[in-house]
Every structure is written in structure tokens, then in C-alpha cells.
Symmetry: C2
Subunit: 506 residues, 2 copies
């Protein structure tokens, strides 16, 4: 199978390709963390982008595989390194070696888990995983679902099923969806894909803990019904990306039951807490959901592309996603088996359940739970360290593995503090101290960190916070020095005000 | 980074895990084909499924990684082996070693290509690939798009963009979509997700070549307008999954232009033909599309999970999929860069462009085109071999890498021939001769083979056809022997009539 001479095993270039492949394998399975001095977030120089585009564009001709592989590795290095011990931006997913090995195995076998008869082994593994994950959340034995590419597709799959289950076609235009102002943007995107308009979404304000205000929710539903709207879907956060907030799941489940709404819980990040003996109580009630989104590549330590949608209404999934089922049954597909293309939006797709299964079988649920606990410990450490420093505010109680904190020394207006916190984040990133970006909490710019790398120790976190505090002091005194008469409410022109809404990333 | 003692590098089990990993790597990069005697489609014994579920279910406790890995490899083996030289079912995707190496690299780096600043290297590669692929099809320089998980998501992304571009919200209920009766089911699924009803789809009959009948299309559009419906979307096949058919792209582009419709070309399988010097003319006109779906894991020799959506209206994609853009811009994201989460339905996702880029850079466009030509050659060989055997019908002219053929000896009714062809397929599969399943052509059961493995030689195909012919003769004489007085139009009770509509798989 010689695609060109340079891939011929007798060719010396092939030997070199194999050497590179071996070193990649070692990287894949390494248990070593990057050093603190390694760059966390290398970014391409934008002035070089046009010439880079020219250079990387393929053409008619073959190229030396070794030099192209080296170019690929160089290019690939320009990304945020979530395995770095000081990586705290977005949701810093850290795949563990056994999960990476699972990803390798998945590539080797390259199975398409569309229909059962062409993938009976991986399909049975996916079936087992759906049931096992559902049982961990307290969903009934009849739970169904499938693996998708991530939380966005999981939310979309659940929303389409809810729409088809709860609404007659003519009701769609008046249908109303409830979610908090902390809900991930992928839910809005999924609603848009499913044909709903922005004005059909009723965003419910949150309380001091960033949890959905259930009284306002009840009021909104009542009022909407009076105006002829058709409430049908309630989306709850189980670990918001912005602050880690878990909405009051039991109360929302009660409301959903009383009002006949479909309760979808976005647990892309937080559903994993159910695997922890120590913290499971925080997500109590998640099993009362009609559907749940859950990401393996967030807090289950998998590589990207491992999303899960679970529902107690497997027939709803089948109704929404089984097309031409009378013709598609393979010649060898027995009745009791599951062909996953009938339960989700895709047909051909990778065997996404396999590496998660491998991880859970090898480590066991308890050990995975302890790795999740480590994230709680790290973030608790961050919270304590911040409170020991002067002039810091933690505007929302720390939950799960996310802490938000704002530097607020006296003598600055709120707007000046926004700029100051942006400047602190930028300097921390520029000096490779840590990837701590900013988010918005009640309209104010706030630092945010998410610590979930199970190989990181609490001392590392304390040290990072100590350095962040020093940077904050330095930035504040720099501002004071440059603008001794500040506090006039105007934004310093020297401090650009770039923010990133963390809830927008996942 | 020791997650449990069995992953400790000092542990002897870890050494064994590494040995397994090395052997997986060798499998990943092998240039050897499976032997003809290797099983093509191993399927789990259904009587053992309940106990298998019990056995594979994870629990609280860790397990020996070596034995779990071995269990994983055993389970993974139960799937259709598309690299087998006699694998012709569905679209038998054959990833080549350089693509598999790219998949390994993608796993190692585990980059999330959501926003540019966190993935500038892979984002620039994806940008280059979108432009390069678009230029191969003749799309304008302003082409935009993104990588998605496969053709289903590519079709969905394009359909949502077309809906938002072409329709006012109040027009949606009267909107009409045109496609041929050979269109892939993922288009119907995508339309359903996007909120359209089945009755809004106007399926246009096909001619003797399985191409959309353009006169009937013109007539349908005219009539629909008279009845107040709003034509807005025309979906063309560029390589249907069922028969490889390419709709008359220029004529459809003319109609779309004249009628103001969005022309979406489903080229998941067939767009790759544009890379072949020899056969490019077959897809002439594809560059006039408003949007195109294209799968790397079909005829570009990638592993699963490599779909592409391209459009000349990149602003439409941005309008449909950019949410909360005012907050999401990262602190470091320059203006001229592309954050791909703004152009598609997902946020976190793997760097899907990377292995396709590696493949095209190392091999060059011409060599990839020649590998595609090999599929044409193999299928042409199959067509010729079938015509040399007695009593076979090729009901649709062979196109691209797909041939459909029906055994039709005299003395059988059409219904009996349906059963006979099903029986032939089942025996071919059962005896591991080849994976040749059946499809429906104009309501009749027909064998179907898709040959696209560039490492297979034409002689192999001739031999397979010769064996298929022998099986066909044997099955026919068996039926005659068992039911000497058949031809009464009744289906033999001994031959079960299971069919698989190939267009339903991809």
C-alpha cells in the first residue's frame, strides 16, 4: 500500500516518519506535566499570517513527509495548553493518559457507530455507557441517548426532541423557553438552529449566587400564559461555564412537573460532579431532568469530541431523529439492538464512547470522582488564597472548580476597576504567569479561573494567586502613577478594555 | 501524574500498556491490507448481549489496564472492516497511513478550534484548507466555511444558513425545498432539525440515470408559486450514496439563479472527484453552488469526523451562528482572523482540518486525485465483469465508484428476484466473500458495491464478481429446486426479504 515513494517502508524517510510517530506516542501517553516556564498560550504573529497562508497552502505536488510533519507540529503548538499547570482559562480540559490511549485506539479502529450491524462491538459499549452515565445521575433504567461531538450538539439534540414532544407545529411560533441569564450561548445557538426566535426565549434573572430566581420564573410562566404564549422548555444550569453555578434543580424540576415543561439540564461541565462521593449532593435532583447534556472532554478527562445527551424519553429521540427507518434496518440487525443514528443528528461518526469506557473501566468510578474532587480542592485553595490578599472581592460564592475574583482597591471607580482587572489579566497572560482571563459578573469585569487538572497540587495554586496579587498591586500603582487624579469615572485611555465572557466559551 | 498505581511508569503493568500502545501505533501506520480470509464484518452474537452488557458495565473499582485494553480491542473488532480488500458496503472509507498519523497528532495536541486566540495555529490551517478546498471546486476567493463532524452536520449548517438568508420568519411555514428522490436522508433530518415539516419538501422524480428531472423541477416550482408556497432551497446530489449519481449541476444552477433559490450541493461523497485530473469534468458546475457539503472521511481517505461545509456567503454563516459576538472576542484576537465557532453549530471541537492538511501537503493534489481515479477504475472493472456474466442487469449506469446490479435469470417474477438478490447478498456476507449489501432501485432489490480502496487492484474486483456470480447461480438453482413451480409472484418463505437502502447510510 504505497501511496508515494516517500511512504514506502523501504524508504529512509518512512523510517524517520516512524521515529516521529513514536515520539508522538510518547507525548500522547506522558504522565509529565509541562514546566511552569513552558508557554501556556503561544499565539501566531499576526503580521506573518498572510505569508503563512501562502506557505501552508497545499498544491499539486508531494512534499517531504518529515518536514511537513515537523511543520504540522510547529503549527499545532500555537494553541492554549490546558495541560500546563497554570492553565485556568475557559474549561481547561485535561485528557489523562488512559483517555489519550483510548483516542489512539479509536483512530486505529476508525469505527462508524451509525448502525448496529456495522459496529456491534462499539455500539454495545456506547449502550452500556449511556446506561451507566444515566444511572449515575439517577435517571431511570429506561434512559436513552447517544454520544455527540460536544455540549452544543447535545443541547441541540435535546431541544429538538423537546420541541417535537411538547409542541404541535402550530404552537411553535408562540412557544416560550426559560433559562437564566447565565445559560451557555450554545443553548441560544441550538434554539436558533431549531427554528426559534430570540424573542421566544425568556431569560430569567439570577440571584446573588448566580442561580435562576425561581420566584421570577414562576411569575414569568404565569404571565406568559396570560398573554397566550406556550411555555414548553426550561433549561437549567448544572455548572455554568461562567461561575460554575448549579441552579436549584429540585425546585426547577417541581416547576417543570407542575407546568408540564420539558426540563433540560445543561451539565456539560457540571454533571461529572455526580461521580464524586464527596460532592455528589451538589447536583442532587439532576436525575429528575427530562434530558441532560454532559461532556466527556470537560470533567471526565477525555480528548475533544466526546459529548453525551441523555434522556428519560428515548422514544422522543427516536421520533425526532429516525428517518426512513423502514428501509435502513440492516440485514443483520436484531430487534433488541440500538442503531445510534436513529437517536441523534448524525449518521457516520467516530466511536466516541470508547475512550470514556476505557477510562472508567481502568480507573473505576471512585478514582475518577477523586480526580474531580481535586478540582474542588484546587479552587477552594484559590478562594482561600484570594481572601488572604488585600482588596480582592469574590462577587459570587465559589462553586465546583471555578472562582471569579475582582481586584478592587479603594480610590477607583467601578469603570476604572474594569480596566484595571482587564490590565491585570493581560499582564498575567503576557508574562506567562497563568492563563487567567476576564469575564463579566453583573456587568463588571472580573478575573476568572477554572482549575481542574488532577495532576496539579494546591501549593501551585497558592503560588499563582500570590503572583496575581503582586501583578494587581503593580498595575494599580501604575495607573495611580500615570493618572494621579483618576477616579473620575473615565476609562484610562492607556488600558484597553477587552473582555471575554467566559460563559461564551466551552 | 499517577492516576492509580497501575498507571505508574514504575509499575510493570505500565510497561505492558506501552507495549500494547506500540503495537497499536504499528497497526495505525501499517501499509498492509487485511487478508481476504480475514473477517470483513464480524458481528456480536446477540444471545450473548445481555451478559456482555453486565460484563462491560463500569463500576466503582479499578481494573487491570492490560486486560481492559485487550477487552477493548476485542470489542472494537466487531465492526465492518472497510480496509478489507473485499469491503464494498455503504461508503467504505479507507483512511491512509498519513491521515491516521494526522489523527494521532490531533489526539496528542487535543486542540479546541473554537476561537482563534486559543488555537491560532490550527485555526490558520483550517482557514487555508477552506480556501484551498473551495478553490478546487471553483468557488470564489471569498469562500468561507468550517469543518464539522460529517455530512449530516454540513448539510444542517448549510440549510440553517439558507433558511436565515432567504426567508423572513413569517415565510418559513410556506417555504418549499426541492430535492430528488435520491437525496441522502441526512438532508431530511437536517430540514427537520431546522424546523421544516416533511410536507414542505418537494421530492422531484429522477430520470433513467437517477438524476433529478429538471423539467419536472421547473414545473414544480411554478406550480408551488401559484399555490402561494415560497420556493427557497434546491438540494443537488454530487455523488448520491445510493448510485453515485451526479445531478445536472449547471442546469440546476441556472434554475436556482433564475428562481432566486439557494443551491446546496451535497458532495459529501462526490465533491472529491474535483481533485482528479481525469474525472473533474463530471462535477463541473459544483462551483456555482451557494453551499457544498464535503466529507474528508469518504473519498479523501481520512478517519471519521472530518466533514466540511463551504459557502460563497460566509456572512450568512456568520449571521446564523455568531452568538453574543460582542462579548466573546478574546483579548488577543486580531480583527482579520477567523474564530470558527462563529461560522458553525459547535463551540469546542477537535482540530479536524489538520490530518486532511497533512495528507494533501505530503501527497499533493495530483496523487490524491490518482487515488480517487483508482476507485473509478475498480468500479469500471466491476461493471465490465458483471456484463460478462449471464443474467445480470445494471439498472443505472455506473458512476464514480458505485455500481448497482441485479441478478435476473429468466423464469422468476420481479418479487422473486427481490428475494433472490437479498439471498445472494446474505450468502456473500455470510461466507465472507465480500460485503455487498442490497439497495432499492425503482422499488426493486438490487446489489450495490462501492469500491474506493486505493490499495486494491482490479484483478481483485474481477475475482469477487466471479464468485458473486457463482453464488447467484447456486442460489437461483436452490430456489428452483425447492420450489420447482415458482414464478407465481409469491415471495418464497425460505428467503427472508431484508433490504438496506444504501442511501440511508453514510
Amino acid at each position: 500500500m504505497h501511496f508515494n515513494t516517500s511512504q514506502d517502508p523501504s524508504d529512509e524517510r518512512w523510517t524517520e516518519v516512524m521515529l516521529i510517530a513514536r515520539s508522538l506516542l510518547n507525548q500522547l501517553l506522558t504522565t509529565d506535566l509541562p514546566l511552569p516556564s513552558d508557554p501556556i498560550l503561544p499565539i501566531l504573529d499576526t503580521s506573518e499570517l498572510p505569508s503563512l497562508q501562502d506557505k501552508i497552502m497545499p498544491d499539486d505536488h508531494p512534499r517531504d513527509p518529515v518536514s511537513i510533519l515537523q511543520q504540522a507540529m510547529t503549527l499545532f503548538d500555537y494553541h492554549i495548553h490546558h495541560t500546563h499547570p497554570h492553565s485556568f482559562a475557559y474549561i481547561p480540559a485535561c485528557p489523562i493518559p488512559i483517555a489519550r490511549l483510548g483516542a489512539l485506539l479509536t483512530s486505529v479502529c476508525n469505527v462508524n457507530v451509525a448502525n448496529w450491524d456495522a459496529s456491534s462491538g462499539p455500539s454495545e459499549v456506547e449502550k452500556a455507557m449511556i446506561h451507566w452515565l444515566g444511572s449515575q445521575l439517577g435517571l431511570p433504567d429506561s434512559v436513552g441517548g447517544c454520544f455527540v461531538s460536544g455540549g452544543s450538539m447535545a443541547n441541540m439534540t435535546a431541544i429538538v426532541a423537546a420541541r417535537d414532544e411538547k409542541l404541535q407545529p402550530l404552537q411553535r411560533a408562540n412557544a416560550t423557553i426559560y433559562m437564566s441569564d447565565q445559560t451557555h450561548l450554545s443553548v441560544m445557538k441550538a434554539l436558533h438552529i431549531a427554528g426559534f426566535m430570540d424573542y421566544q426565549v425568556h431569560k430569567i434573572p439570577t440571584d446573588d449566587n448566580c442561580c435562576m430566581d425561581v420566584n421570577l420564573l414562576r411569575h414569568a410562566i404565569k404571565t406568559d400564559r396570560l398573554f397566550g404564549r406556550v411555555p414548553f422548555l426550561l433549561v437549567a444550569n448544572c455548572g455554568s461555564t461562567n461561575t460554575g453555578t448549579i441552579d436549584p434543580l429540585h425546585e426547577l424540576a417541581d416547576i417543570a412537573r407542575d407546568e408540564g415543561l420539558w426540563l433540560h439540564v445543561d451539565g456539560a461541565y457540571g454533571a461529572s460532579i455526580a461521580l464524586s462521593d464527596k460532592h455528589r449532593h451538589l447536583v442532587d435532583g439532576i436525575g429528575r431532568a427530562d434530558s441532560v447534556s454532559w461532556d466527556g472532554h470537560k470533567w471526565l478527562f477525555q480528548t475533544y469530541g466526546c459529548g453525551i445527551v441523555l434522556t428519560r424519553h428515548v422514544n422522543s429521540l427516536a421520533r425526532s431523529f429516525s428517518f426512513d427507518a423502514e428501509y435502513i434496518t440492516g440485514p443483520l440487525e436484531p430487534q433488541a439492538t440500538t442503531s445510534f443514528y436513529k437517536l441523534g443528528p448524525e449518521l457516520s461518526r467516530p466511536a466516541r464512547a470508547m475512550s470514556l469506557w476505557l477510562t472508567l473501566k481502568v480507573l473505576g468510578r471512585r478514582r475518577v470522582g477523586e480526580m474531580i474532587d481535586q478540582g474542588f480542592l484546587l479552587t477552594c485553595t484559590a478562594d482561600h488564597s484570594i481572601r488572604q490578599c488585600k482588596n480582592w472581592i469574590i462577587p459570587v460564592p465559589t462553586v465546583a472548580s471555578i472562582v471569579v475574583f475582582r481586584y478592587a482597591p479603594p480610590g477607583f471607580s467601578e469603570e476604572e476597576l474594569d480596566s484595571l482587572n482587564s490590565a491585570i489579566s493581560q499582564r498575567i497572560v503576557a508574562e506567562n504567569i497563568a492563563s487567567i482571563l476576564t469575564t463579566q459578573i453583573r456587568g463588571r469585569t472580573t478575573l476568572r479561573m477554572c482549575a481542574m487538572n488532577p495532576a496539579v497540587q494546591p501549593e501551585t495554586i497558592s503560588e499563582v494567586i500570590s503572583r496575581v496579587d503582586k501583578v494587581a498591586q503593580a498595575e494599580a500603582s501604575k495607573v495611580k502613577k500615570t493618572y494621579p487624579k483618576m477616579s473620575n469615572g473615565l476609562c484610562s485611555p492607556l488600558i484597553s478594555c477587552c473582555v471575554v465572557e467566559a460563559s461564551d466559551h466551552a
